[in-house]
Symmetry: C2
Subunit: 508 residues, 2 copies
Amino acid sequence: MASKQILQELKPSQFLSRPPPSLSLRFFSVSIAVDNRNRNRNHNHRLRHSSSSSSKLYNPVFACRTSRDSHETDSSRKDDDSPVHGLSEKIVGVLGGGQLGRMLCQAASKMAIKVIVLDPSENCPASALAYDHMVGSFDDSATVEEFAKRCGVLTVETEHVDVATLEKLEQQGIDCEPKASTIRIIQDKYLQKVHFSRHGIPLPEFMEINNLEETKRAGELYGYPLMIKGKRLAYDGRGNAVAKSEGELSSAIDVLGGFGRGLYVEKWAPFIKELAVIVARGRDNSILCYPVVETIHKENICHIVKAPADVPWRIRKLANDVAYKAISSLEGAGVFAVELFLTRDGQILLNEVAPRPHNSGHHTIESCYTSQFEQHLRAVVGLPLGDPSMKTPAAIMYNLLGEDEGEPGFKVAHQLIARALEIPGATAHWYDKPEMRRQRKMGHITLVGPSVGVLEARRKSMLREEGYENRNEVAPRVGIVMGSDSDLPVMKDAARILNMFGVSTEEW
Amino acid sequence: MASKQILQELKPSQFLSRPPPSLSLRFFSVSIAVDNRNRNRNHNHRLRHSSSSSSKLYNPVFACRTSRDSHETDSSRKDDDSPVHGLSEKIVGVLGGGQLGRMLCQAASKMAIKVIVLDPSENCPASALAYDHMVGSFDDSATVEEFAKRCGVLTVETEHVDVATLEKLEQQGIDCEPKASTIRIIQDKYLQKVHFSRHGIPLPEFMEINNLEETKRAGELYGYPLMIKGKRLAYDGRGNAVAKSEGELSSAIDVLGGFGRGLYVEKWAPFIKELAVIVARGRDNSILCYPVVETIHKENICHIVKAPADVPWRIRKLANDVAYKAISSLEGAGVFAVELFLTRDGQILLNEVAPRPHNSGHHTIESCYTSQFEQHLRAVVGLPLGDPSMKTPAAIMYNLLGEDEGEPGFKVAHQLIARALEIPGATAHWYDKPEMRRQRKMGHITLVGPSVGVLEARRKSMLREEGYENRNEVAPRVGIVMGSDSDLPVMKDAARILNMFGVSTEEW
């Protein structure tokens, strides 16, 4: 078993730069948790049949062209001399068909690369755009194996997949990018911390907890507030709970589903900003980093991304170095997102890594020479990586999170989009999810333009945020554009002089 | 008949600023040609059936989600208060499913606007990406009528459609954008000239020809070389023939299929550059122009587009003014391409107009805040127009035209794409046409970057053009970047000094 190989390689003494007590025992419990999970797989794979059509006029068309169905993988093509039609004949299989899969399909359509997705939801966002959609669970072994037969390369849009099957498929010679070993490390947040700590990546102190006694000891060691996290199936803040004092520990653990689920604690990171770096690695192991961005979360969900991050050059360099080093420690091709904390004292600590395109990289579609989605496809099919740098000076991405359930939620989103469409340099993305739910990612808006300051003003105007509108009551005749607050000392005199002459101004 | 209405409105005396003799009679012959053509329609509309699937593993998915099929148009939605999900519920029907339809679908997928296409080819480029594809002729009345029932708005990716049916549909209340009247004017190049001349748009002198005698008279009047053009079904230079002398007239007319087809002549335009402007008009009649580009043709087919055009500001202004005025004279929403000649004496003459997205605007996908395809969709569904300006300083689009038939042609294209992918700021588009033919538009490559000069060097490097490679034999250590030749006087001294010190340079 590949998991055992990992365990053998990872000697307890090497795990952590700051090892918690009794690490080795706790680590083995992770492996058992993986096995338990596999037993509970949801066998809901089923096939799509055209007979479900309700169209009377004529039958809907196929997303894939049946005339090419015989090319289930391009391994036959690779070995002979027949020329490649277009960029690549490799069929890319994606586990998951959410908005990330959808945007992968969009990037693929430019290049005419065939993407097929495996997702249990018939109406998943990627369904209408994929070359083919297999309706089934990406967490079910038999389904994933059947799906893999159709792929030239297998990749993911979520790390919460059945990794044991991926390991088995790799042994059978199926090409998984990134590698199953990477997904195994990342899908367990505790194992991820152990891994990065072992590779000397700076990160908040952490330790596994198995009972209330250990949790209290961790609280004494790290102080409060204390961050308690579930090891697995955690995303968008789900699986995290904060205890402000020892008295809150019990209820926090209950909220997370108890110790049976597998928990660990992290020392609270006194961050002043959250940053992220998308890192791409090609099949030739070349690594390229996208510009460092700032991410702003709302109820633990990514809400706003500002690119580039307004931090000093030294911090950007440090963030890139940490991200580069983190991804260098993992195996396989693709794009990865490295989420980071910038602390008050100028440290960069790794928060977590995603082995796939990420919300913090959506802005790259409009703002970078090569989007994270095109880059991921280039990487996994073995094309050269594209230029990750920005082609516009600045970008702001604003997530359209469900504000309400059902139709009222749709109405709020539509009104916001309607305002966005009036803004120069704004692009609206809508994921076409059939159901609106509160806090659900329904779409996003990207603003690109001359500076983050200008875009921030446009974003506020779009949102009609308090303070911005009020200041607009007297229409400004001069805009004072500042890239950052550091320009304020210089520009405030300009504002003062204009004010002397009664000219209304607006600071951006 | 709408055609008659147009004829009544267009009094012969108003047709041309420089009227050819006996115009009115000739004009009526156009109308007859339309009717003849309609009799020869190809009734090849057929329905797609899922039973044609050859897939054994499972049936392919539908491109459209059957659960929403009941919303055949959004007129029901518009009238009630149910909120719009996303940007627009309007189903956009496109007559034609070639690469333009494909790129419309790509833009639509970001916005989750449903695009359905009508195209006779089952494997047409738009088929895999469209919400639905009706296999049938966009030149067949019954088929277009059936298709129109499914659309909230009907638009085109080609002007060679059955305009009489569009006029009939408009009378039934179907929303066609742009209007049938516009397509009627544009699809007949002679009628187009008459129209623009009547509206005071500068264009090369022209006249209709019905026999060799008239053609010879035209040759005497306009001189040689003389451009002879077919009135209809002309694109990518098809339907054009040049006679260098009176002796060549007969053979040129034979090449074009004889007078029965409907021919006219144009005075040779002594152009030094060909320019183009994409113009967008919203449903509110707001008009926005994209930056003026230079188009370079190869065997009459658009081959290279440089954005912005390297012409003086005055010429750009003039080109924009002519384009704006030309489109103002037409009816309906959408994007339009205005192809122009820049003559030696600094005049701008209109060459022709396309009532749809155009090859000269492909660069906008990567280089402009709003691509021509998103803009067309915004326009026809009634959203506000987006910002057409460039977000990168420069762009070059290079068409991948078939260099050879079949597999050898695919091989050449793939090799070129492989080199393009190594170039920073290059994006490869492949249209996924099942068959490679010489001179066929198979895809395109867009380069974006700091200046047209830099991009031109990259393009030459990609193509391994003679002269460029040779100059590269000694690897340059300094690049001298010039926006245009006007920088040469300043920069040549820099090159001289570097040369004195033995530093190899390269001028961009």
